[in-house]
Symmetry: C2
Subunit: 311 residues, 2 copies
Amino acid sequence: MAGGVGGAKLAYGLYRVCPPGSLTVVVNTGDDFEHLGLWISPDLDTVCYTLAELANPLTGWGLDGDSFAALHGLSVLGGPDWFQIGDRDLATHLERTRRLKMGQSLSQITRDFCRSWGVQAAVFPMSDQRVSTLVDTVDSGRLAFQEYFVHQQCRPVVSGFSFDGVDSAQPAPGVLDAISAASLIVICPSNPWVSIEPILQVRGIRAALRQKVVVAVSPIVGGKAIKGPAAKMYAEMGLKPSAETVARQYAELITGMVVDLEDREEADRLNRSGIISLVTQTVMRSPQNRCRLASEVVQFGESLLRRVTGS
Amino acid sequence: MAGGVGGAKLAYGLYRVCPPGSLTVVVNTGDDFEHLGLWISPDLDTVCYTLAELANPLTGWGLDGDSFAALHGLSVLGGPDWFQIGDRDLATHLERTRRLKMGQSLSQITRDFCRSWGVQAAVFPMSDQRVSTLVDTVDSGRLAFQEYFVHQQCRPVVSGFSFDGVDSAQPAPGVLDAISAASLIVICPSNPWVSIEPILQVRGIRAALRQKVVVAVSPIVGGKAIKGPAAKMYAEMGLKPSAETVARQYAELITGMVVDLEDREEADRLNRSGIISLVTQTVMRSPQNRCRLASEVVQFGESLLRRVTGS
């Protein structure tokens, strides 16, 4: 289960260390939105670009070496240039939008794109139906996610989240089967509020996960988010941003929790409360880090599996 | 009155040699089409890019120094990559499409774009309503213009043309006033069949032109089109491709005709039949050529005006 940049990094590690064809990534689409008439799926693209080794290593999103001539041209014309789209990235949005208008499903399109980009993992949108994350804010009312996240740069103080359309959204075809067939579920170090929660709210996904051994990797390290507004969101929601808080949020689902070396004391407390915790270096600054962390997560999961099955 | 590349070159010359603010260009929109969900106005863009000195000097269309990263990305995804769109050019189509969807008119958008690009001429689409040039072919039936022109590279043998929507299209606001106020009308060396005829068929434009001194510049030189399928079209329509044939086609409208040095004999015949002809170098291989031809056209027009008014 993954959102954007942080999730994609661990997904990449898992892709590299797991046997070919054994990885399925279920990706948040709550951030998806229409912009310039194009249907943009930021988390799906980040995951696919990352698995394909096409992602910009500096930002984590977008394409490595992409140019921004179209964005510049748009700016000259006074068009909406607040959302950074590279030229080659534009092709993804143009072609996805074209195919959606032809009636193809997002999961079909994602499968085709992955084939074109040489990605051999199964990458699924959480749903083929439109789900839109809305951010309730104290100062600016209810905001569309990208308005909050990109345009207002996460400045508004959040008071809650909702996922418009999630009540009628079905998991994309194959998602529940993949969960059911999986030996281990990993909740990637993505934002629990706006990257993981939308996936969990899609009908049937939470129930399917409850049947499995689930390991979550904390996106909070030393009380801070490695990237993005997760820590700020916890604080604004009246919660202490910490790996322990993340674990409590996932408590009903997870068997094990992976926390950073910095958060060793929190791990001790989690272990005492029955959430088995692995303490390791969780910050993925290099592709090697991603693979090392992925290996440790898989081994940890295997150890949990052995405990559960008593073997 | 102008179509794409050839028309834009003379329009550029006129823009340079006429007093600032005195030039109005009325541009064919029969070639406009929807592609990748974008509304593309090839002739309008070519005219605006050329006047703004942004056009690619090698092709005559597109933007100088533009990149093609999006087109390449589209190609990788198996998308429709037969229509060449540069990255910066994409911005024009994205922003035009966005504004059209907001309810702005093509003429308003074109005015705004011209301001952004520093174009001080008035550039009008022939109409704000959609008119679609259709090409009847012997071998492939009726084809949308870009299908014929770009995708099938003008290979099919033409038997006729129609302009879907032209019966209900109104001239864009300002077009009839500009014609009425003009001292001289120039029909640029654009394809008479598919660049000029659609303009002439928009309600009221032909009648307005009949009140004016009109000079046409032949797009056919030595029996050949300088660019594009005009000569091939004449031959397939059973007519000899020549400057004289072009003049006959425009006969009811024009006071004078500008033909190339190569076609001196045709000019003599035209003069004898009452169409006053200027013989000069009409091929515009450099910006200097454009300005020189434009000056000659304007002087020729002024001489015709003096004859008409008897002064």
